[in-house]
Symmetry: C2
Subunit: 206 residues, 2 copies
DNA sequence: ACCCTTGCTGACCGGCAGGTCATTAATATA
DNA sequence: TATATTAATGACCTGCCGGTCAGCAAGGGT
């Protein structure tokens, strides 16, 4: 009747390990995180971790892939099957999304991408295809819809849809670096930005 | 008459070493750069490096301090002793600055700050005091001047001067990560951004 | 109850990189 | 030229950490 020293749970292990890794990377960054530390957090031996992930780098990539895709897909799904006007979409779901990111655990990922990305070109490639280019495409879709509706005029935003997401990156980075020195009201920040952009691209109705 | 194996150049060494470190960090990032590699680039032995910098971390901080301050001071100096209008300043020297950063070696520093910053709180503190808060203050000055002139109305930008610099961070990050996949015309990007902002805050003269 | 498969453990290894220090050689001084 | 000073070297040490592997034990099959 001895208490078993462990249980076999092949199914759950990978997710538990990536979760633990996410938390660890968030606190210490990639290079400074020891694989054993990740294992310990996951309640697992280092050896087991290496059964599921070939290398530390492999683990890192898995972390990114796991956390990013679901979030973005949710947002994009929102665009297609909603009947909001373009402005309503930007002030509604998009703004919500933008406000959420800097506060969510996902913000850590952004920092990790910036920090470690250049060392993992294939990861960047994946991220580009599955996240960034998709996201930009979605924004273009919204803008085009706005133009078709007569809400928006054509503007530089058509060439630089990135302008819409730039403050997301900014407030995320700001929060992780400078919050102790000066808080940034990320919600107000995002709202103001959207205001400015919309003010510039909206067709004057008067 | 044997050729000397080295020369004593106490004065120049530190700068040469930080230059070398800057280049090395730029290529490989902080953690992946070996101290010996830095020494080699500087044409110096590892031992000597440790005469001038107590630790690797120390070296890192010196690199940041060396490269950042001069640049920013130059820009800020520009504000005070120019008689440009606020708009002229934003479309002139400020825009030039913003266009330059993502192309200059300084862009590496931004990545390094994002990547390594959280592990060096005292460095962040220094950066906050000597770079960021100074810069924000300068922007506020320009905005206030604009308001006094009757060029600008008061706007959310007074509360969030960061909106002006956010695309600098963005285009820098974009360039280092995604350039191989999709080039970003950083000049056009910055110009469009300034256009949008000015369009929103300018007092209507009609 | 007995295998037999396989999820899981943890002691171990090898190499690497940050940091030290005894020694050397270039200059300053006289 | 002789001596003192110190910039500079590079071999060396040490601890750490990614990665391995021989073996153990959980739990399914019969």
């Amino acid at each position: 009747m001895a208490k078993p020293r462990y249980r076999r749970r092949k199914e759950d292990r990978p997710a538990e390990i990536t979760d633990a890794a996410m938390a660890a990377f968030a606190e210490k960054g990639y290079a400074a995180t020891r694989v054993e530390e990740v294992a310990k957090r996951a309640g697992v031996s280092k050896g087991l971790l290496y059964l599921y992930f070939k290398t530390k780098e492999d683990l890192f990539k898995a972390v990114i892939r796991n956390f990013v895709s679901p979030r973005l897909d949710a947002l994009i799904g929102n665009i297609e099957d909603s009947d909001l006007t373009a402005e309503q979409f930007l002030r509604g779901p998009f703004l919500d999304f933008a406000k959420t990111v800097p506060k969510s655990p996902a913000r850590i990922l952004i920092r990790l991408m910036v920090a470690e990305g250049p060392k993992h070109p294939d990861l960047i490639a994946w991220y580009w295809e599955n996240v960034v280019s998709k996201g930009l495409q979605a924004i273009r879709l919204v803008l085009e819809k706005g133009v078709q509706n007569g809400e928006f005029r054509r503007s530089a935003l058509d060439d630089f849809p990135q302008l819409l997401i730039s403050p997301i990156l900014f407030s995320t980075v700001w929060t992780t670096l400078f919050d102790p020195h000066q808080k940034l009201d990320t919600d107000g920040f995002m709202e103001s930005h959207i205001d400015f952009v919309l003010h510039s691209i909206k067709v004057d109705k008067t």
